[in-house]
């Protein structure tokens, strides 16, 4: 193989490597190209603060959907973070490698289950139970939070476990040497030290919850108003896009793209925060 061939290969690989950049650029470009003109004309503020979404009458307020996304995400965190961080702490600090090697793959399995299956179980098992015992239609923030909370568990657990494992053993050893119990060590030394990693995991879990579509369409009820209780039905930004995208034309379609732009920005901000937090830790 001579020099020229090597150089050609290198250039070729550079092009391939930039494919990801190209793809991201393409997607971002397209989404923004379709959505920004709408925002310019309709008004960003009106779009974000409008409470009525009625495309037939040119009303495109997505505040109910923003509220829906936020409520469902917070709900998912309320369910998923305690369970996830708790599980991670137990697995890393209170058990040995053997148990971890059995449990960790099982948790990864949870991540592989399709979201439509989660939604299905939500409809078949959870919603009726909620309807009978807690009232409401069963399709609500409450149900969605439980299902989404479980869906983000793998993310939260694995990142928390990695953060705790990455801590230098000196932390733990020093604390134990001073006579602290395992739990005291965890609370007073390990958790604070792994704080940024765990936070990054939570934020990624948040991103996952906000981006979830199928399960939410199935169990959150898709109502078009700002919720007033956790047993209210809601529509998230993702559901809104998915429900109406198939047929929207013209301004309606542009409005859905604008919705996607907002969603996109939300998630980019979240992701960037997570990246910054993890970078800070590595310093």
């Amino acid at each position: 193989m001579n020099e020229i061939a090597e150089k050609i290969i290198e250039k070729f690989l550079i092009m391939i490597a930039f494919s990801t950049v190209a793809v991201l650029f393409l997607i971002t470009f397209f989404i923004f190209k379709e959505g920004i003109p709408f925002l310019a004309e309709y008004g960003l503020f009106d779009f974000l603060s409008g409470t009525i979404w009625l495309p037939g009458e040119n009303n495109y307020g997505i505040l109910p959907m923003i509220a829906g996304s936020i409520c469902v995400t917070i709900g998912a965190l309320v369910v998923g973070v305690p369970l996830g961080v708790g599980t991670a702490i137990f697995l890393v600090e209170f058990t040995n490698k053997r148990v971890r090697n059995i449990v960790k793959p099982m948790i990864e399995l949870l991540a592989g289950i399709p979201s439509v299956v989660y939604g299905f179980i939500g409809i078949m098992v959870l919603a009726p139970w909620v309807r009978v015992h807690l009232g409401g239609s069963g399709l609500s923030i409450f149900t969605a939070s439980i299902v989404l909370g479980i869906m983000i568990l793998p993310t939260v657990i694995s990142i928390t476990m990695d953060s705790l494992s990455a801590l230098s053993p000196a932390y733990k050893e020093g604390s134990i040497a001073l006579g602290a119990t395992n739990w005291q060590t965890v609370v007073m030394v390990l958790l604070p030290a792994a704080k940024s990693g765990i936070l990054a995991g939570i934020i990624l879990g948040m991103g996952r919850a906000i981006g979830e579509t199928m399960a939410v369409i199935m169990i959150a009820g898709n109502a078009l108003r700002i919720p007033s209780s956790i047993f209210d039905s809601v529509r998230t930004m993702t559901s809104n896009i998915a429900l109406e995208m198939g047929y929207a034309l013209g301004t309606h379609r542009a409005a859905l793209f604008a919705n996607a732009v907002i969603l996109f920005v939300f998630i980019m901000v979240l992701n960037s925060i997570a990246i910054i937090i993890t970078k800070k830790r590595h310093k």
Binding site: G56, N222, L224, R225, R235, Y247
Partner: protein
């Protein structure tokens, strides 16, 4: 052992070659999309047609009437299906034909004691003026209104006929097809919704409107007033195959097929 790319590549290429050579030349199927009310009937018609003419492939998708309108306008499908009172201006330039008529049944849960409802009361329920089953003397709980999504022809027709100038209540929940509304009402004792008469099953209870049952006969004799035609919209430059299938659907055989399965033929 040295790992080599070659066997994997060969197997893969063989698979591709095998697949593409054994399937007929990529002949594009006749594509339909749109109204979920008409979709099952289009499917049945397609199956019968394909049994008669095996070289044609017909693809039927749902999505709602607005999908039918959008897809035919943009040329993604050959025939768009839309069940609405009248087609929007977007498709004024496209050829269209009515293939059937269909009534919309108002349904409640099987355990709901209600049997009959007046047109007026129905309008008040869906606009949110009446919010509780108590006001109707049925039971003590809130009424849960379930509506179709914005792009549904069934929804547009229902809104025009029942709500008139009023708006749908802000508390309404949404599902995006006849089937999902039926499921929701079936599972929720307090729900009320509407589906195409062609979708009625024993899982849900249809209400009588002003004393008239939701049946095809009553739609034909116009005593049951909530009904709309099903349009088939042809994209510009439709293929010959698509036209042949269209003619079949309008033929006496096709129309009889439609009638047998539960929709109202147009001829």
């Amino acid at each position: 052992m040295r790992f080599s790319w070659k066997p994997i590549l060969l197997v893969f290429l063989f698979f591709l070659f095998f697949y593409f050579s054994f399937t007929s030349r990529p002949k594009l199927p006749v594509r339909l999309a749109g109204s979920t009310a008409f979709q099952p009937f289009a499917e049945i018609l397609a199956e019968t047609y394909m049994a008669k003419y095996p070289e044609t492939i017909i693809d039927v998708q749902g999505g709602g009437s607005a999908v039918g309108i959008m897809a035919s306008q943009q040329g993604i499908v050959d025939i768009g299906m839309a069940d609405m009172l009248s087609l929007p201006k977007d498709v004024d330039h496209l050829e269209r034909v009515i293939v059937a008529r269909d009534g919309i049944a108002v349904i409640v849960n099987r355990d709901n004691k209600m049997e009959d409802i007046s047109f007026e009361t129905l309008g008040k329920i869906f606009s949110g003026d009446i919010k509780k089953w108590d006001d109707l003397g049925i039971k003590s709980s809130a009424i849960r209104v379930i509506s179709r999504e914005d792009g549904s022809g069934t929804r547009k027709s229902f809104d025009q006929l029942v709500l008139g100038k009023k708006k749908l209540t802000r508390d309404a929940m949404f599902q995006d097809s006849n089937g999902t509304i039926r499921e929701s009402v079936k599972n929720d004792p307090n729900a009320i919704g509407y589906i195409s008469i062609g979708y009625l099953t024993e899982d849900v209870k249809p209400l009588k409107i002003d004393g008239y049952e939701a049946t095809n006969e009553n739609v034909i004799n116009e005593s049951y007033k909530i009904a709309r035609p099903v349009f088939l919209i042809l994209k510009s430059n439709t293929s010959k195959e698509a036209r042949k299938f269209l003619d079949y659907m309008l033929s006496s055989e096709g129309q009889k097929n439609i009638a047998d399965e539960g929709l109202i033929p147009v001829k």
